[in-house]
């Protein structure tokens, strides 16, 4: 085993040769990013875990079509958002936005409650968006993808990316008006 840490591109090249060990290392590096993206899309930890695994299986299957000049993270996000959309399509009613607890049960009430509560409100507002606009918003605000990359990821025209993003932001500004005011 070499003592130096392999770069992403080295791991990708090895995984392309069928090296599952190398791919496992790659999965470890991108797990958190993918899980958070998917969780923001569906709001259910169980579903997110499952969709994240599905995303990594798809990444493995399509490694040959990955172009190294493109950021790997963006390419993975693109696959992950589609895995999340598919998971939501399969089980549309798993997440009831109203069920999301506004407070974590075992937390120090004084210090944590306000931030926790705000975080839960943000999550609730994002999950209340229509899935199509939510996907665009998540890719833009959390993954930092360009409009063009979002259009490619979701197979929609550039104009649709912009209109969905504007719609999502408009909705959020309404639902989170009080929180935005307090900032």
């Amino acid at each position: 085993m070499p003592s130096t840490i392999a770069t992403d591109h080295e791991l990708i090249a090895q995984a392309r040769q069928g090296d599952r060990q190398a791919y496992g290392d790659l999965v470890c590096r991108y797990r958190d990013g993918v899980v958070n993206l998917v969780y923001r899309m569906c709001g259910d930890p169980q579903l997110a875990e499952e969709a994240a695994q599905e995303a990594f299986i798809r990444v493995w299957q399509h490694l040959d079509s990955y172009k190294p000049q493109y950021p790997f993270r963006n390419w993975v996000s693109r696959i992950a958002v589609n895995a999340a959309l598919d998971a939501l399509r399969r089980t549309p009613a798993t997440v009831n936005v109203e069920d999301i607890p506004l407070e974590a049960p075992d937390e120090d009430p004084e210090a944590q409650t306000e931030t926790r509560q705000r975080a839960a409100l943000v999550q609730k507002a994002v999950l209340a968006l229509p899935t199509a606009s939510r996907a665009v918003l998540v890719l833009r605000e959390y993954e930092g993808l360009s409009y063009h990359e979002i259009a490619e990821a979701l197979s929609i025209p550039l104009g649709t990316v912009m209109s969905r993003l504007n719609y999502a932001r408009g909705q959020l500004r309404q639902t989170l008006a009080a929180q935005l005011e307090a900032l």
């Binding site: 999965v27 975080a119 360009s146």
Partner: protein
């Protein structure tokens, strides 16, 4: 004051504008408090959105990766590679087959040579086409007087051709074996640490 640029603000905020358009927006923003406010609102929303919680409970990352690896299907081999592999595996069979075929042709050639040299006329009578198979033909005059030396020369010639071809085929087989060995060494090197997590 120029017209408000409200519809361009999100694209400007997201870094999607370039060149003249970007300059135009920046010029307007420097003069218009209303549009600046709109831009700040977008920044505020982004900041608030960052408070969206990350995944709360999660499997340890090593276990997650192991679970993914267990579910991975075999990678699909590209068609050209599959064809190349099949061709490579079939190569020794092709080489041996070609060698056997040439041996058969040479054997027939030997038989025909003997028949023709001993009794050329009768063969021509049976089938004129077959004489075309002859590797080497002596002039008619020589045929009558020097039949056996001629046959010996013809057979010698055939033996030399056979030897050369056999050496070439043996060389092909040896290089195939060498290639196979090198490939196995490479494979072994590529797949040493296959431990299960």
């Amino acid at each position: 004051m120029t017209e408000h640029i409200t519809q361009w603000i999100p694209a400007y905020y997201d870094g999607e504008l370039h060149g003249a358009r970007k300059q135009q927006i920046e010029a307007h923003l420097s003069q218009c408090a209303g549009c600046r406010e709109e831009l700040e609102q977008l920044g505020g929303l982004s900041a608030l959105l960052q408070e969206n919680p990350v995944m709360p409970v999660r499997t340890p990352v090593a276990r997650f990766a192991a679970q993914v690896r267990l579910r991975l299907p075999q990678p699909k081999e590209p068609t050209w590679r599959k064809m190349l592999k099949t061709g490579w595996q079939a190569a020794p069979l092709g080489i041996v087959g070609a060698w056997a075929f040439i041996q058969a042709v040479l054997l027939v050639a030997v038989v025909i040579t003997i028949i023709v040299q001993v009794d050329g006329a009768s063969l021509t009578a049976i089938s004129p086409d077959l004489t075309g198979l002859l590797i080497f033909r002596w002039p008619e005059t020589a045929l009558q007087t020097q039949v056996w030396p001629t046959i010996a020369l013809d057979l010698g010639l055939l033996a030399i051709i056979n030897l050369i071809l056999t050496v070439i085929f043996a060389g092909l087989i040896v290089s195939w074996l060498a290639g196979w060995w090198a490939y196995r060494q490479h494979q072994g090197f590529m797949s040493i640490p296959k431990t299960v997590v």
